[in-house]
Symmetry: C2
Subunit: 124 residues, 2 copies
C-alpha cells in the first residue's frame, strides 16, 4: 500500500501526495485529532524513534481501506490497525489509528483457549 | 456484515455457518488462540455481559476483510478491530481481534494535536 511504503521510506512528498488537504487524523484511544495535511505530515516527520513497519494485511474496497501493520522500534514490536476513508478524488480524507497494548487474559475461558508465544501470524 | 449481524442477534447457527470447521481465532494482545468452529462458537455463546455491537466500518476484498465495531456492555463502550481471512469456500478461516484500550497522549506533539471528547466519528 502506497501510504505505508511512503512512510517506511520517509518519502514525505509521496506521502503528502496521497492525502486530501483537509485530511483528518484521529487516535480514538487518546482522543487526539490532527487537522490538515501539513500538520499530519509534520506529525509523521517528527514521530520519535527509528521505527520500521511491515504491512501484515491490507484490505481495500471502493472508498474504504484497512491495514494491519507491525511497527518495530528499538526491538519492541507493536501492532497498528488503521482505517482509511477516501474522498471523491481518491485522496485520503480520514485516517483512524489504533495501537492496542498487550493484556492478560481474563479468567473463565481457559477451557476453550490456548496461549501462544510466537508472532500473531505463526499459525498461518 | 453477516458475521456481526449473527453475533448481535445471538443467531449462533447462522454464525457457525459462516465459519470453516478449522477456523482459528487469535487475540494477539493476550496471545490467546481458539481452534475449531465448535470451540469458537462456544466462546461467543459464553462471552459474559449483555453486550451489543454496531459496525462502524467494514471493508472486504477478495479473501480478506476488516471491520471496526463498537461494543457496548453496561454503558461502557469499547472498539473492536477485526481481521478476517476466508478459505476457498468463502468460509471464515481465521479471525484476529484487537481490543484497544484508552491511553493518555504522550508529550511532545501538543503543537500539532487537539483533543476531542466525543465519539470517534464525531468529525464525520
Amino acid at each position: 500500500m502506497a501510504y505505508w511504503a511512503a512512510a517506511e521510506a520517509r518519502d514525505w512528498a509521496g506521502f503528502a501526495a496521497l492525502l486530501a488537504d483537509d485530511v483528518v487524523y484521529e487516535l480514538p484511544q487518546s482522543r487526539e485529532r490532527i487537522l490538515g495535511k501539513e500538520r499530519y505530515v509534520q506529525f509523521n516527520v517528527e514521530y520519535p524513534g527509528d521505527w520500521h513497519l511491515t504491512v501484515h494485511m491490507a484490505v481495500g474496497e471502493e472508498r474504504h481501506a484497512a491495514t494491519w501493520a507491525r511497527f518495530v522500534v528499538g526491538g519492541e514490536e507493536q501492532q497498528a490497525l488503521t482505517f482509511f476513508e477516501l474522498d471523491d478524488d481518491g485522496l485520503i480524507a480520514k485516517v483512524t489509528d489504533f495501537w492496542p497494548e498487550p493484556y492478560e487474559p481474563p479468567p473463565g475461558r481457559e477451557h476453550l483457549v490456548e496461549r501462544y508465544s510466537a508472532r500473531p501470524d505463526s499459525s498461518a
